[in-house]
Each structure stands twice: as C-alpha cells, then as structure tokens.
Point group: C2
Chain length 295, copies 2
C-alpha cells in the first residue's frame, strides 16, 4: 500500500468557527488528515468543536494547536491575522503548510510579512468563496467547500511546493482553485462581494429604521429576501473586511452612485426610454452572467 502524499498527519485549526470547522470536517471526510487539533480564543468554542467531533483535541493556545501539525489553517477575522501569526511565528516550520481563509488578501499578506518575516515561504494566502449567513462551529459542514472557488494569492517568496500542496488538497475537497495577485483579488472582491454587503446593510437599515418599516417588511417577498440575505452577515467579520479593503470599496461605491444617479434622473424626469435602456442593459447582463460554480 503506497503512502498518499496528500494525506496529512495532523491539522491545526486556529479559529474553530464555520470556516475552520467545515475545513476540518471536509479534510476528515476526504481522508486527507488523521488528527485535528483546534484552538479558539474562547475556550467554550474550542470545547464545543471537540464535543461536536469537529476536532479531536482542544488546544489551550494557538501555539499548541500548531505544535506537531503538518498543516495549519488560520480561520480568524482578518484583523486578527497578524497577532495570530505572531503568536505562532517562532514555531513556523518551512515543511508545514500554513493557510488562511480571509476575505481580503493584501492586508493578510502585509500582516504575514510583518509577523513571519523570512519564514513567509510556507504561508499560502487563501480565500474560499463559500460561507453562509450563519456562523459558528455548530453550523460547520463537510460539504461547505465542495464546488466552491478557492483563490490562492501566492507571493514571490512562497514555496512552489506549498502552492502545489494547497492546490491539490483544495481540489480534493471539491473546490476549484484559482490564482490571483493579492491586489487583484481585493479589487475584484470589493466589486462583487464587499460593496454588495455595504449596500445591503445600508438598504436594510433604511427600510427597517423608518416609521412603518416593520409593516412594510411584513409584506416583503422573495426578491427582498434574496436581496437582503447578505445583510445578515457577521458584524465583526464584515467590519474587518470592509476596513481592510476600504479604499477599493469606497471607489466601487462611488461608481455605483453614478449608475444610481442615472437611473434616478431618468425616473425623476419620467424619461421612459432612458429608464428602459438602463434597466435593459442591467437585465440582459444579469441574465447572461453564469456563476463559475454552483455551490
């Protein structure tokens, strides 16, 4: 029986939430790991992850989750990346694969440079495009990444072998691996993810905060439900993501406002043809859009 080089001995999870917990379950289901050690800032979360069988061993510190692991996943809010990597930096081993799951990448790369210095070669920044509007390890699912795109943003210094291992393991979890520069990643996601969240937060607050808002919302249908789904996102996570990518998000928001201006102008001036053209262009574009993968 040959040894499968893709199988890891021990996975260390730092941050036992939805993303980290789902990764542990997926790795185990795929037979890619023998043992999972987990750590969360809150001991009750770590204990819950253990009780649910998501991790085998509850580690009392990030450093202890890393000790003995040949693969480590950071699944903490992006703003906590630097402190987390600093806490484990002296144990970082060039033969161990380190990844994160953050929704922004330029700030994660900067944090990793500051925390790891020359040891950055075995850190492969990763962003799986998966998630749910519920968080917590009790919502973790072994299939969360199945069919999902995963974007890797390796650096000049990243060990190509580590990129290959990361690519292989995500592929074996059913994910579609893509590679981008960190800055290109952040510009893209400002447009297709971070701005929609900002707009959904603003829109939901506007409706809910007005007199009669609750009555209005009692009448809302499937369009409202889908349009506002992302407004239920985790406040801490989204605060950090928006702050980490603020300039690109504000730029996208300014662009959005010019298109809203044009629609409002057509509406205010009762210009049916102009309004029709603007709507038709959006509608045709949306009908032609196809998701890369249907998770």
């Amino acid at each position: 029986m040959r040894t499968d080089s893709a199988v890891f001995r021990q996975l260390g999870i730092i941050g036992c939430g939805l993303m980290g917990g789902s990764f542990a379950l997926a790795m185990r289901r795929a037979g890619l790991v023998r043992k999972v050690v987990g750590y969360s800032k809150s001991p009750s979360t770590t204990e819950q992850a253990r009780a649910l069988g998501v991790i085998d061993v509850a580690a009392p510190s990030a450093l202890q989750a890393v000790t003995g692991s040949d693969i480590v996943l950071l699944s903490v809010p992006v703003a906590a990346t630097e402190a987390t990597l600093k806490a484990i930096s002296h144990a970082v081993d060039p033969a161990v694969l380190y990844m994160d799951v953050g929704s922004t990448k330029a700030d994660v790369v900067m944090a990793a440079r500051r925390a790891l210095g020359p040891k950055i070669g075995s850190f492969v920044p990763a962003h799986p495009i998966a998630g749910k509007e519920v968080s917590g390890v009790h919502n973790a699912e072994a299939t969360l990444y199945d069919g999902a795109p995963v974007i890797l943003t390796p650096l000049r210094e990243t060990d190509p072998q580590m990129v290959a291992r990361a690519t292989e393991l995500w592929t074996r979890l059913g994910a579609k691996v893509l590679t981008l520069e960190p800055e290109a990643h952040d510009t893209s996601f400002a447009a297709v993810s971070h701005l929609p969240h900002l707009l959904a937060f603003a829109y939901f607050s506007a409706v809910a905060g007005q007199p009669g808002g609750d009555d209005f919302m009692a009448l809302a249908g499937p369009g409202f439900r889908d349009f506002t789904r992302i407004a239920g996102g985790d406040p801490e996570m989204w605060r950090d993501v928006l702050l980490a990518n603020a300039d690109a998000v504000l730029e996208q928001s300014a662009l959005f406002r010019t298109h809203l201006d044009a629609l409002e102008f057509a509406l205010r001036s009762r210009n049916a043809d102009a309004l029709h053209n603007l709507i038709r262009s959006a509608s045709e574009g949306r009908r032609n859009w196809r998701q890369r993968s249907t998770k």
Copy 2:
C-alpha cells in the same frame, strides 16, 4: 351533488404571460374553472398559451376573451391597464369579477376609474407577491401562487361580494390574502420591492460596466448571485412599475442614501466602532426578519 359557488364557468385572461398563465393553470388545478379563454397582444403568444394547454381558446381580442367569462384577469404591464380596461369597458358586467395583478396599485386604480367610471364596482385590484426572474407563458406554473401573499386594494365603490369572491378564490389557490389601501400598498412596495430593483439595476450596471468587470464577475459567489437576482427582472415591466410609483421610490432612495452615507463616513474615517454598530444593527434586524410565507 351541490354546486360549488366558488367554481367559475369561464376565465378570461388578458395577457397570457407568466402571471396570467400561472393563474389559469392554478385555477384549473384547483378545479375552480371549467374553461379558459385567453388573449395576448401578440397572436403568437396567445397561440403558444393554447398549444401549451394553459388556455382552451385563443381569443382574437381582449373583448372576445371577456365575452362569456364570469371571471377576468388582467395580467398586462401596469401602464397598459387603462387601454386594456377601455377596450373591454362596454362589456363590463357587475356580476363578473375583474382583477389585475399589477405591482403598483394607485395608478391602476386611477386607470380603472378613468376606464370604467361607475362600472368600477366589480373590479378588485390585486397584487400577488409572486414571480420569477423569467417571464413568458412557457414558464407558467400551477403552483406560482401557492403560499404567496396576495394584496387586495378594494375601493369605497368596490362590491363587497366581489372582494369576498376574490378572497375565497385566492385562498383556495393557496395564497394568503391581505387588504390594504392602494397608497399604503405603493409606499410599502416602494420600500421592499421597487427600490431594491432600482439598486440592483444600478449595482449590476456599475460592476459589469467597468474595465475588468467580466473578470470580477467570474469570481462572484452566492452572495452576488442572490443580491443581483432581481437585476434580471423584465425591463418593460420594471420601467412601468418604477414610473408608476416614481415619487415613493425616489423618496425611499433618498433615505437609502443617508444610510449609505453613514456607512461610507465610518469606513472613510476608519471608525471601526461606528462601522460595527451600523452593521450590527442591520445584521440583527435581518436575522430577526421572517417572511410572511415561504414561497
């Protein structure tokens, strides 16, 4: 065998699209109608509806779809309501139930007053909160209204017996019937439906219209998919709905902009606490919102 008073002899459909076609299928499936006569402006649509078995008889005019019918459904773009009612006005019978399915109600009521004058008593303005981002009779479904809220906006002059018949039949199709004033209806839907469409059109155009937009959208995930779903709405229908309710929509959009301003200000000034509070308020509100019915 007793005669079921809710069963109609003949349904006349004016506008054999998604909404009208689904109503015909639903009525037939529920055993509430014996014969369906349909008319669409385009003869090929009427013929398609007949070929699909959605209607039994293809009428060559709106007037002929109405002749002999004891229930009539108008499912035409709201801007066509007045002309359609005028075309049938001299055949309007106080013993026949007339309804529309328009997404705005104040303009439909005004159109009905102009077209029907004193014969308005048997017209019950209706808005079923159901639909799909595809249109056309080939997408019609017998279950479209099952579980959907249907809002009736009867007038002072509306015959209470007609309101009772409308309520009974929608209830038997599985819908949940609510009653509102036309103006209250339009204010509510400006907030929970029309503005989200305007925002989704603006957002989609902003993303798709920029350099690299296609590449960005190739990376988009389920959040983008759901947030932009309504941007695929029918351009003519949404042009008419937005124009018919322009003032209320513009008022809601102004309110939305004040909330977007606040979020952008917190983001621009890197005020993490303010940003967190704004997001948390939206997120908690959204998590507590429950759809009236889950169609």
